[in-house]
Amino acid sequence: MSLPSSLASFNLAEARDALKAKSISSRELTDALIRAAADSRGLNAFVTETPERAVEMAQASDLRIKHGEARVLEGLPLAIKDLFCTKGVRTTAGSKILSNFVPPYESTVTQNLWNAGAVMLGKTNMDEFAMGSSNETSAAGPALNPWRAKNSNANLVPGGSSGGSAAAVAGDLCLAAIGTDTGGSIRQPAAVTGIVGLKPTYGRCSRFGIVAFASSLDQAGPMTKTVRDAAMLLTSMASVDPKDSTSVDIAVPDYEKQMAGGIKGLRVGIPREYRIDGAPAEVSALWEKGAAWLKAQGAEIVEVSLPHTKYALPTYYIVAPAEASSNLARYDGVRFGHRAKGVSDITELYENSRAEGFGAEVQRRILIGTYVLSAGYYDAYYARAQKLRTLIKRDFDQAFERCDVLLTPATPGPAFGVGEKTADPVSMYLQDVFTVTVNLAGLPALSVPAGLTANGLPLGLQLIGKAFDEGTILRAGKAIEDAAQFIHKPTDWWRAA
């Protein structure tokens, strides 16, 4: 195995193996990544860096390794989306309303990672309350994509909402990161930054301690440099949790093992409704290429239909804001978070705290969500959206009678410019056109980097699996990864001199 020239550009499995071989220490690795993060503030990938804690954890890991007590992620430094509550470490959810919030508890997913020996580098930037597809709604300002188009100095977005995590992985500021995905928030940023992103089946990872956006859709997942890394990380993140009634009691397999074995005989479905008008030719071409790669490795390609796909985006933009409008009611300035000053009564305290604390996109979604749940509108919007959700789910059930995984583009195009879509929310919402269906159906899906546009920007392919069949999409993802040989890296234009 040829190891990367710098410690910071190790992937998770490489670092694990090097630590096991004692050719490096966690402290060395951690220091290199702390430096990388410090040199890369231009990307605005981290909202909070936690170097002291990282060093402390790395030292403890080195001791365990020395005593032969290493756990599966021992000494491996990770970046954590700022939506996961981390005990004693400020957790903002990308919002001004939580700018001073330090949770006295730890999310189950991060606790699982620390229990496996992982090291926390810090909390990553994100769209406010995970609402956005470009990281531009963050109260901390946009994170930037490490990638730039050929011959261009224009800043591009890293996607969203897990944009900071994506930028940190793509820019080699961490070995891997974790994000959350409500409508594409892991897969879309992964695709436009050239990394791997996995949204597990709803219920696979606990939602306890994750600041809620849309409870029936939110799911945590890994954002990594390789498919193997995603498998490794998910194995440690996933658990059934008595503190989350929607987590599911199915044994967590070793996904890294499940990833192996090839795809001979795998039936790969191509949903015809994902061929959308106006999609760039490069996206369609890459999709066809992906199918050809899989076929070449022994898979069978079948055309399938998901007839209700066109209703997915509107359904999502009813269900998600409805739940959000209720989930975000607790940010009222009374017990924690931002509290408006100089108010004369409780109504003014609510109104001013929320008006000052929430950004425009969050306010927009609270308004939409409140509207669709209102008396007289509930049946026309929320109730119908729930029915459509059932139909969308049934589409997948029927498609999976004919295939084992679905292959689709991950995004309608490559990364776009900072500020390009902020004035037009609907064009921003369209970023999720290929990803939201999966959240509505609760299924697992993986985004794998598969190629570059003519302009030199990464594009990803998406693999969608049956519920709790992450193993199969990882296996298919590995096949894409092997065929695509996506070894491209962005130039490190952002690094401090």
């Binding site: 929607t246 009611a329 009374v334």
Partner: protein, 490 residues
């Protein structure tokens, strides 16, 4: 259902029928809250029993407490209601400082318990059925404290998240008496079941009362909801006041506005809180943090098997033992009282035992301001006393004195009777001697009783006095009549 004429309210123009429905909030008896592990103990320091879930902290998730579900099912079964094996928790959204999540988790369209009924017992021994519409589980809110600081309000979240059962009746009650009787009966049932302590002072049971009036048999009138009536006495007062207020308005040519009103117990009146137009839009929707609640029919059957004998069944059994409907309903009103009675009545005449309980025990408890749980004389001791009356060991009069002794000094009744020589005198010689003594001392009365046979009672009293109350009064009576040659029917 129409009310009998006696329950109608007389207006200026005609008689009016009052129609009452109720929503009762009963706090579930359980150690921890509906969706968190925090304690439910009453009286703790403010905010001492608050989990991160109860405080609505970011990322916190509710997890249903199985005990609370069991209690709701138990209550449903006690109300002879349909148990819904599938029910759904919804969010009721509104902003209030004592509602940390910004929504209350409740059950809206699919409650855990459906239709049932409660039989209420009225004064004259008459019974009536009140339909139950539904029972659902929901979280309680915290408490706002407005009297701690001149400018700021404080919030105590100890109650936040405590499980409540909201029990909704059909509009089946027709008088303030029936409304109070319903609440009394509901309280007895949940206390029998052990699902709510029914303590209205601590807010464990609160009622919202819907009141409307109509001409007898006519269409239902517009109702007003009276909030938070928190004592049995206030229920009757609130209904009376509200019915008369509505009648006055209608008879004065006005119309009733549908609104929520608050009962002011100091003024004894209801006051407008908010009108229908100002009512909240709660934006109910299923709580995505909780799966639909699915119950196993076998589990429900197990709970049903474990139900105690409830007041109605107990009452029927007591009536079969010889108690009047009235006595039986008094005795079964509290489970502790009924249990006490059963022990007291062991091996003695059921009716004599009920009379003893109602007249002697309840009278003394009332006098001393005690509840049945605090009664100083055990049921077994009372059983001994009643048994001694029935086998003529002591007289009724002595029995009462004996009870007073045991009540204030304690001790075993039979031992006291022996030690203090309280046994009834049945030796005719001793009684005859006392009679001779009284006759000798009162020759004038002896003449008088010949024309006024009623004076015999005076002689009985005198002889009883002579024997220190220990003589058997019936025996004294018989011997006196024979001695004075009085007719038997005197």
């Amino acid at each position: 259902m129409s009310a009998p004429a006696s329950k109608l309210i007389k207006g200026q123009t005609c008689d009016w029928e009052v129609v009452i429905g109720m929503e009762v909030h009963a706090q579930v008896l359980s150690k921890s809250k509906l969706f968190s592990g925090a304690s439910t103990e009453f009286g703790a320091e403010p905010n001492a029993q608050v989990s991160f879930i109860d405080a609505g902290m970011p990322g916190m998730l509710p997890v249903i407490n199985e005990k609370c579900v069991e209690q709701a099912v138990r209550t449903g079964l006690g109300l002879k209601a349909k148990i819904n094996l599938a029910s759904i928790f919804d969010r009721k959204n509104y902003f209030y400082p004592d509602l940390p999540q910004g929504y209350q988790i409740s059950q809206y369209k699919n409650p855990i318990v459906g239709e049932g009924e409660v039989t209420i017992d009225l004064k004259d021994g008459e019974s009536r059925k009140v339909g139950i519409e539904r029972l659902h589980l929901e979280q309680d809110a915290g408490k706002s404290l407005h009297d701690q600081h001149p400018d700021n309000s404080y919030v105590d979240l100890n109650r936040s998240g405590i499980a409540l059962m909201e029990i909704v009746t059909k509009p089946d009650m027709r008088s303030s008496e029936e409304a109070a009787a319903f609440l009394r009966k509901l309280r007895a049932i949940v206390r029998y079941l052990g699902t709510c302590d029914g303590n209205m002072d601590e807010g464990s049971m609160r009622a919202d009362v819907n009141v409307s009036v109509r001409k007898p048999g006519g269409p239902l009138g517009t109702r007003c909801e009276i909030k938070n009536v928190n004592s049995m006495r206030f229920i009757a007062q609130a209904v009376e006041f509200e019915a008369r207020r509505q009648i006055e308005i209608i008879e004065g040519g006005g119309t009733i506005k549908q609104e929520t009103r608050l009962f002011d117990s100091r003024q004894g009146e209801t006051r407008s809180m908010r009108s229908k137009e100002e009512a909240h839009d709660y934006r109910y929707f299923p709580d995505p943090d909780l799966l639909p609640l699915e119950l196993d029919a076998a589990w429900v059957a197990e709970i049903e098997k474990s139900l105690p004998e409830l007041p109605d069944e107990k009452k029927a059994r007591f009536m079969a033992m010889g108690l009047s409907a009235y006595d039986a309903s008094v005795v079964v009103a509290e489970r502790e009282l009924a249990d006490y009675y059963e022990e007291l009545a062991k091996g003695v005449d059921a009716k004599a035992a009920a009379n003893w309980l109602n007249n002697e025990i309840l009278g003394r408890l009332n006098r001393d301001g005690l509840s049945i749980a605090q009664v100083p004389v055990s049921a077994a001791a009372n059983n001994a006393i009643v048994m001694m009356i029935s086998d003529h060991t002591i007289s009724g009069k002595i029995a009462k004195d004996l009870l007073d002794i045991v009540w204030s000094e304690g001790g075993e009744p039979r031992a006291i009777v022996e030690a203090r020589g309280l046994r009834q005198v049945t030796d005719t010689g001793a009684i005859d001697a006392a009679i001779e003594k009284v006759i000798a001392a009162n020759p004038d009365k002896v003449e008088e009783v010949k024309v006024k046979p009623k004076l015999a009672a005076w002689f009985v009293g005198q002889v009883m006095k002579q024997t220190g109350g220990k003589a058997n009064p019936a025996q004294v009576n018989a011997l006196l009549k024979a001695r004075l040659n009085l007719p038997d029917e005197g």
